[in-house]
């Protein structure tokens, strides 16, 4: 039997506000344990929450960017459970009336556009962190993260393949980063993804029992974890057993999902409206204002890159997946770079160099204008493509202009035919056997001669001229 998967994703995105959602404490990452706390976020008796308006604005921005309906009236609820990292014994979240509902985002899979529904986006506070290392029989609790604002973005079960799930995550991340509401870093936990997964025979309309997969803590594991879980469920069904409703943890070392707790052990969170906070009423005027202030979103930008710069869709999607990448591209084009050439250099050399150092484009000392100027030198024939690679890398490392590097290293391309002829003659006279074989029809040896000539000229000879002259001489 053929099966298809039904996948819904619950994404937790840490908001990039300066202060926590219900108190004034800083949200900065990596401080000494329990230094960014106050009576409110450590749950002192009598302390009360006050909503950070910025967090509300961020949630609304995200809702608008994902085509959601923004609720004019919404409210917080308490989710009750005991855990040491949860200082009040309940998490302030939203339950019945979330701030955003009924949205969607579009993804492209196999050149087809697919809409993935967004059920809801709600605001909540993060918990602290339990630390088990170095504590003997005890555990430590760090509450710096307690009260950091989160958005939970819940998708409809519209996703059918791990690939679609990965595309959805990429698109969502691009949107969040473009809006500046979340840094989208899965490894650091500022973007977390839980997946509800079930399988059903192709053609069946009803949903089957699903499992929740948690702890997918890296982009590269989204597909892997889902592929594993789908295979597992198919195997369970084919062996005549039943998939049970349970929570499973992805173990990236073993590459498997493992059962954490079943439905019978599931918590009863006893949600009820948070009496310490008044319901949130949002004026339409404010929503309109936020809407007007939204930046150009990745989808719109990608379409524009295709029409305005004549880029292939693939390039446009890639360049617009990061706001800063797109800005870099546009700045280079603005400075006179030919768009497709600029795109190629960004997607090729620049990305390679950044990845090697695990750097983002903001940390790069090479400026867009410098790439544009290097491209001009290539156009003029001052440097060859091969030299350009070296020049580019030097620009990237030192931040110097292409022209300076070319001058300092004497990398100007030799287009002088006399100089090239001299080099050709030298190579021919040194390699009589190869010349014989070439003349006898071994055409492949042309590359050998070119290589030798380039070596002799330290790569500066204009390869086009070398090719032409070499053929004339040898034939």
């Amino acid at each position: 039997m053929k099966y298809e998967a039904v996948i819904g994703l619950e994404v937790h995105a840490q908001m990039l506000t300066d202060s926590k959602i219900f108190c004034g404490c800083s949200t900065k990452f990596g401080s000494e344990p329990n230094t960014q706390t106050c009576p409110v976020c450590i749950g002192m008796p009598g302390a009360l929450p006050v909503l950070n308006k910025r967090a509300l604005e961020f949630a609304i921005r995200t809702g608008l960017a994902t085509n959601c309906k923004i609720s004019n009236y919404s409210r917080f609820a308490r989710k009750n459970y005991f855990y040491p990292d949860l200082p009040k014994g309940y998490q302030i979240s939203q339950y019945e009336l979330p701030i955003c509902e009924h949205g969607y985002i579009e993804i492209v899979v196999d050149s087809e556009i697919k809409k993935i529904g967004i059920t809801r986006i709600h605001m909540e506070e993060d918990a602290g962190k339990n630390i088990h290392e170095g504590a003997g029989n005890y555990s430590f609790v760090d509450l710096n993260r307690a009260g950091v604002p989160l958005m939970e973005i819940v998708s409809e079960p519209d996703i059918r393949t791990p690939k679609e799930a990965a595309e959805y995550m990429k698109k969502l991340r691009a949107i969040l980063r473009c809006l500046g509401v979340c840094d989208g870093n899965m490894e650091q936990g500022s973007l977390r993804c839980d997946a509800n997964v079930s399988i059903r025979p192709v053609g069946q309309k009803e949903y089957s029992i699903r499992a929740e997969v948690k702890n997918i803590n890296s982009f590269k594991f989204v597909e892997k974890a889902l592929e594993y879980e789908i295979k597992r469920q198919i195997k369970v069904v084919e062996e005549g057993r039943k998939v049970i409703q349970e929570t499973r943890l992805w173990d990236s070392d073993k590459g498997v999902t493992e059962s954490m707790r079943s439905k019978e052990e599931a918590h009863d969170y006893r949600y009820f409206p948070e009496p310490d906070l008044v319901p949130i009423t949002v004026e339409q005027e404010w929503i309109d204002e936020i809407n007007a202030s939204l930046p150009e979103l990745p989808d719109a930008k990608s379409k524009r890159f295709v029409s305005e710069y004549g880029l292939p869709e693939y390039d446009a999607d890639l360049l617009t997946s990061e706001k800063t990448l797109a800005e870099w591209f546009e700045a280079a084009v603005e400075a006179g770079g030919q768009p497709k050439a600029v795109a190629n250099w960004i997607m090729g050399e620049l990305t390679k160099l950044l990845n090697e150092e695990n750097k983002s484009i903001e940390e790069c000392q090479l400026k867009p204008k410098q790439l544009a100027e290097m491209l001009k030198l290539m156009d003029k024939g001052t440097i060859s493509g091969k030299i350009a690679k070296a020049v580019f890398e030097e620009m990237y490392r030192t931040g110097k202009d292409a022209e300076t590097i070319v001058k300092e290293k004497g990398l100007v391309q030799i287009s002088d035919e006399l100089a090239i002829e001299k080099a050709i003659d030298e190579v021919i006279s040194k390699n009589p056997k190869e010349v014989e074989r070439f003349k006898a029809g071994d055409e492949k040896l042309l590359g050998f001669f070119v290589g030798q000539i380039m070596k002799l000229t330290k790569g500066k000879a204009n390869p086009q001229i070398v090719n032409e002259m070499l053929r004339k001489k040898l034939l």
Partner: protein
């Protein structure tokens, strides 16, 4: 002169005229505490050292002519309001050694106005109860008869005021916890409109019902304290951005023509005869002062106690989850986390608190939520609407505060339901979020005080203070003192 007998306004006058010093007044209060508190047992903690510092600072301001409304005034605070550096226990073992690192909004405001904190008063554990018998430490006694309870949960504050162990006090009222002990101790207790006073730093029992208010020797003092503690607080989202008038301004105004509603549901067959008579006599008195009694109906009154005990316990079950032994307060040993949780809460909380946590947890559980919590919210709306309708035709409502006078210690502890009925006349007011004041209106044949409750419209504390003051000034009940 027995300085401890003074009211706020009397003491203030003597202090400002430099007839007495803040220290003399404080000495007198502590001497009084020394001589009577072994009988009354109103205080959990005395903050003597701090009090003398505050009195000195007050005196300096007075001497320099910068006297503020509470400079030099010794005030007792119910022990569920956080006082920075001073133990705040909620009369619970689980917080027996808890010293707050921060100050509650109300005590900050009192501070800004120069008050002198003399100590923290006893209550039913986490304000759950009507007699202080649920205190995790000891039961406070009624100064009028130390065999009897002072009411609760603010029993310590009410008893301290009645016994002249302080000049005034603050209490908190979730279902009657200011008014019922005030009535039983023969003093004045005011529960302001929900949202009038910040709850920041008040250890929560039921967040949507809790409200802090003054317990005082007379109505004027109540208005003076209300002036200071009222107003929007940016740290309490549920505090209301409503203008705060000078509540003392209306005192002495005529009540001619005021319509006072008499709800028939509050005068029922079988109610205590002496209470009924006193309250009816008080209504006659108000009538003689020009008020017009109007019979009204609050038809959903009978659902109030049940509604209250679903909502208050639901909120409490969640509010008290933070006492888990992890961060502060009492922690019992256990072989693992779960056992530590269970031992801490089993040993740290008293029976009534546990009963309410279990009730509330049950009411919020999936499968029961609709039948209990949601239904209770609907009933709450009906009760609120009752009052809104009534206030279309009357300016205020007058009822007894408590169905009985002070009862004997141990009389009702075996039967929680009987105890819950102590708040039958006060609970609806919290559910509706409106203000009400209790003031003395007579004594039983056993010489026990009886309280009159005057209920007002949302944010109309002025009207009930005005009426209460007019009544008080035409009677002598507030001048009687217990023999201690």
């Amino acid at each position: 002169m027995e300085l401890y007998r003074l009211s706020i306004s009397e003491a203030k006058e003597l202090l400002d005229k430099r007839k007495i010093t803040a220290k003399e007044l404080l000495n007198s209060i502590y001497q009084r505490i020394e001589s009577v508190d072994s009988k009354v047992k109103a205080f959990v903690t005395l903050s003597k050292e701090k009090a003398y510092e505050m009195a000195d600072a007050s005196q300096k301001q007075i001497d320099e002519g910068r006297s503020l409304p509470l400079h030099g005034i010794p005030v007792a605070i119910k022990d569920n309001m956080c006082t920075k550096g001073i133990r705040t226990t909620c009369s619970s073992k689980i917080l027996a050694d808890f010293i707050p690192p921060y100050e509650s909004a109300v005590t900050s405001r009192l501070n800004e106005n120069g008050y002198v904190l003399i100590g923290k008063t006893n209550l039913d554990e986490f304000a759950m109860g009507s007699s202080t018998e649920n205190s995790g430490f000891f039961t406070t006694r009624n100064p009028w008869d130390i065999e009897r309870i002072p009411g609760g949960s603010s029993g310590g504050s009410a008893a301290a005021v009645a016994a002249d162990e302080c000049i005034a006090a603050l209490g908190s009222d979730t279902g009657g916890s200011i008014r019922q002990p005030a009535a039983l101790c023969g003093v004045v207790g005011l529960k302001p409109t929900y949202g009038r006073v910040s709850r920041y730093g008040l250890v929560a029992f039921a967040s949507s019902l809790d409200q802090i208010g003054p317990i005082t020797k007379n109505v004027k003092d109540s208005a003076i304290l209300l002036n200071i503690i009222s107003g929007k607080d940016p740290f309490d989202s549920t505090s209301a951005p409503v203008a705060v008038p000078d509540f003392t301004k209306v005192l002495g105004n005529e009540i001619e023509g005021l319509k006072i509603g008499i709800p028939k549901e509050y005068f029922i067959k079988g109610m205590d005869r002496e209470i009924e008579e006193s309250v009816k006599t008080a209504i006659k008195k108000l009538e003689s002062l020009g008020a017009i009694p109007v019979e009204i109906s609050l038809p959903h009154t009978e659902y109030a106690v049940a509604t209250y005990y679903v909502l208050a316990t639901s909120e409490a079950s969640s509010n008290l989850a933070r006492y888990d032994g992890v961060k502060y307060g009492f922690r019992a040993a256990g072989k693992d986390l779960m056992e530590m949780y269970m031992n801490t809460r089993a040993q740290g909380f008293g029976a009534e608190v546990k009963r309410r946590i279990i009730l509330g947890t049950y009411a919020l559980s999936s499968g029961y939520y609709d039948a209990y919590y949601k239904k209770a919210q609907q009933a709450r709306t009906l009760i609120k609407t009752d009052f809104e309708k009534a206030f279309n035709s009357v300016d205020m409502i007058v009822t007894p505060t408590s169905p009985t006078a002070a009862f004997k210690s141990g009389e009702k502890t075996e039967d929680p339901l009987q105890m819950y009925l102590s708040d039958i006349f006060t609970i609806s007011i919290n559910l509706a979020g409106i203000p009400a004041i209790s003031l003395p209106c007579g004594f039983t044949s056993n010489n026990l005080p009886i309280g009159l409750q005057i209920i007002g419209k949302h944010f109309d504390e002025e009207s009930i203070l005005k009426a209460a003051y007019a009544y008080e000034q035409s009677t002598d009940w507030h001048k009687r003192k217990p023999n201690l």
